[in-house]
């Protein structure tokens, strides 16, 4: 059964002359002769969103995702076509929309929840849960203007997901807040979905789409490009984005791959002069693709005398600062020999095991004993894009394989087993067998 039916929806906006400068790009991109005062944000979009599913709208900025979301939410009326929605809608188009800075957190929770359609009694019952989820207990009676942006957003999200909607419409709001809160948001959305709530999200995180959504629609310039299984749509979208990005990357000079500041000590030794990334086919790229071969090339220049067996190394940190991987030629006992002049050192990876996301890359050169640092280049942005292979959760994917053996009679007893004793299985319940 479809919860939301979008039937041939088109949405036209009239552009006012005095506002034209703010949407100048939209006008200049279009044919001015036709009708510069009109802009079609959506053109003949039809889709059905089944009950109890999580549905993603994807596309680049300005593709009409948010307009479609607002049409579904009833904020915009379609110029043509119709939207039929069966159920109570809660919208999360902007967190904390409607918060009044001078009022306290408590007052704003009540305010916000009534906007989303709750009665006072319902809010009374959920109030503690809302505040606890947001983690702002201490500040709930202070005006929200003293809140940090994180607290503001957490409280807004908490209200919106607790209103018990039948349909939840979420714009790209979850991209805010710290990692721990984001995880909680997603697990909460997941719970809602399990309870039969239909969820429509706009997102740029293809990992989210692939891991959480059932269906997806890809919009481009207001038109539907593809609609169907979330995984398929996301994969097709990622391929297109990668293709477009690579077309722009072929002319990149090696040093541009890492845009961060380099600490160049003009002392004798091996210096890093540039970095470039290459994909499996050897083409220059700006980012790695999960599951695909990847190569980091370090361009070096030796100042002064030739150096015997210098060490080249690289380290990768997550955006959150977690040290994920560090390796150098000394660990791996690579004999780099006498190095002089200029050259290129490459670190090759057969299968990019980092999950899609953003990382910080550090490159460095030292002497043979990793005692004297010649050069160090920090904070190079490394983006891993989703590839054809779907990554597991977490920061890396070990790339293991699943194997099922149904008949256990012939199998060895497990090394580590759970005791069946009365301890409830919490403490000291696991033992390694001898």
């Amino acid at each position: 059964m479809s919860k939301i039916v979008v039937d041939g929806v088109s949405k036209r906006f009239r552009l006012q002359k005095d506002r034209a400068h703010s949407i100048k790009e939209l006008i200049t991109r279009r044919d001015r002769d036709v009708d510069a005062d009109e802009f079609w944000a959506l053109r003949d979009v039809s889709l059905e969103i089944p009950e109890g599913s999580m549905y993603a709208l994807i596309g680049h900025n300005g593709s009409g995702k948010s307009t479609l979301l607002r049409c579904v939410a009833g904020i915009y009326r379609p110029t043509e076509g119709s939207v039929s929605v069966d159920g109570r809608i809660s919208t999360l188009l902007e967190l904390g929309a409607g918060f009044h800075p001078d009022l306290t957190g408590r007052e704003n929770v009540y305010m916000n929840a009534t906007i989303l359609g709750m009665s006072k009694r319902q809010i009374d019952g959920l109030f503690d849960e809302i505040v606890e989820f947001a983690g702002v207990e201490e500040f709930i009676d202070s005006p929200v203007k003293i809140y940090s942006s994180g607290m503001y957003v957490r409280l807004g999200f908490s209200v919106a997901v607790h209103v018990d909607p039948e349909i939840l419409i979420v714009d790209e709001v979850i991209a805010v807040g710290d990692e721990a809160f984001q995880r909680r948001c997603f697990s909460h959305l997941f719970d809602l979905r399990r309870n039969g709530v239909t969820i429509v999200v706009v997102t740029h995180g293809m990992g989210t789409v692939q891991s959480m959504c059932d269906g997806a629609a890809w919009l481009d310039h207001g038109q539907l490009v593809m609609v169907g299984d979330a995984n398929e749509v996301a994969t097709a979208y990622v391929q297109r984005v990668n293709q477009v990005e690579d077309e722009g990357a072929t002319v990149t000079a090696p040093s541009e791959a890492g845009s961060a500041d380099s600490v160049m000590l003009q002392e004798p030794g091996v210096h890093v002069t540039g970095v470039s990334f290459r994909d499996g086919s050897g083409a220059v790229t700006r980012s790695a693709t999960f599951g695909e071969p990847f190569r980091i090339e370090m361009h070096y220049e030796v100042l002064g005398e030739a150096v015997r067996n210098p060490t080249f190394g690289c380290a990768i940190h997550s955006e959150g600062g977690v040290y994920l991987h560090g390796v150098n030629t000394a660990y791996k006992r690579v004999d780099t020999g006498m190095v002089s002049g200029t050259g290129v050192v490459a670190y090759e990876v057969d299968r990019m095991a980092l999950a899609p996301g953003s990382y910080r890359l550090t490159l460095g050169t030292t002497d043979a004993h990793v005692q004297k640092i010649f050069d160090r280049w920090e904070d190079i942005s490394l983006v891993v894009r989703p590839g054809a292979e779907r990554a597991g959760d977490g920061l890396t994917d070990l790339g293991g394989h699943w194997n099922l053996t149904p008949d256990t009679t012939s199998a060895m007893p497990p090394q580590l087993s759970r005791s069946t004793g009365g301890g409830g299985g919490r403490e000291g319940s696991s033992r390694w067998s001898a």
Binding site: G74, I75, Y76, R77, T91, T114, I115
Partner: protein
């Protein structure tokens, strides 16, 4: 267009919006709520001094046959005027204030307007109660006081219809805000508030009779000061103008508000 029933189903929201406005209005001010009384009191004081003392304005004898007070005579009209101008100004501010919210979540755009109307009605009720209080203390009391309630409500309807249209217009053309300021000033002096209708020339009288506010102020003075009922003509003027204004305002707002919101 949202039906009144649809708007009514959002009453919790309306109550909360009104409450939020009232709470936020006097937050961080030392005198808080007293400000809502200080303002009209000062206005009344100024007008009494300027028009009553300097310009020697006079008031007729009140309904009890003993009391003659220019200040209270003036206050009757002023209470009505404060309500009308308050509703118009508040409607404009309400739509502006709710605009951002309306682009982010769905609820009838009439809801914040009704909430704004509610806050002004509360203020109006307070001022009317004070007026009654003075009259009671001075012994000028009658059941006709109660008739001033529907008069105030009709006045609010008249102003609300105008406010709905101006609220929309203000978002589309910012000139409206300035024009409203001037328009209200003209309307204030084109209504016999600081003067009596029988004090102006015959021609002016004939013109001023067509100002619906003349009937409203007349009605207020009749019921609270002279302790009489408004004339049939006044009733017709008040009822007709309030109904027409509200119907037209509601229709225009319902029809054009969604489009204006999209362009915010």
């Amino acid at each position: 267009m949202s039906t009144p029933a649809e708007v009514w189903s959002y009453r919790t929201l309306i109550a909360n919006l009104a409450q939020r406005d009232l709470k936020a209005r006097y937050k961080k001010s030392f005198l808080g709520w007293t400000w809502s009384l200080i303002n009209p009191a000062v206005t009344l004081g100024i007008y009494t001094v300027v028009f009553g003392v300097f310009l020697k304005g006079t008031a007729p004898v009140a309904g009890n046959g003993r009391l003659t007070s220019f200040a209270l005579f003036l206050f009757c009209g002023l209470v009505l005027w404060n309500l009308v101008s308050g509703v118009i100004n508040n409607s404009i501010a309400s739509f502006l204030g709710a605009g951002q919210l309306l682009t982010r979540t769905y609820f009838p755009p009439e809801a914040p307007m009704v909430a704004g109307l509610t806050t002004v009605l509360i203020q109006g009720a307070l001022e009317l109660a004070i007026l009654w209080g003075f009259m009671i203390v001075l012994g000028n009391v009658s059941w006709t006081f109660l008739i001033s309630i529907p008069i105030m409500l009709l006045g609010a309807c008249l102003a609300f219809g105008v406010g709905l249209v101006l609220g929309l217009g203000n978002v589309r053309f910012r000139d409206v805000g300035y024009l409203v300021g001037i328009g209200l000033q003209v309307a204030f002096y084109a209504t016999p508030i600081v003067y009596r209708l029988d004090q102006v020339g015959e021609l002016a009288q004939r013109v001023l009779v067509f100002n619906p506010l003349t009937a409203f102020v007349g009605g207020m003075r009749a019921t609270v000061y002279e302790l009489e009922l408004p004339t049939t003509n006044e009733w017709l003027m008040m009822g007709g103008s309030a109904t027409a204004s509200l119907l037209i305002g509601w229709w225009v707002f319902g029809r054009y508000a969604p489009r204006v919101i999209e362009e915010l």
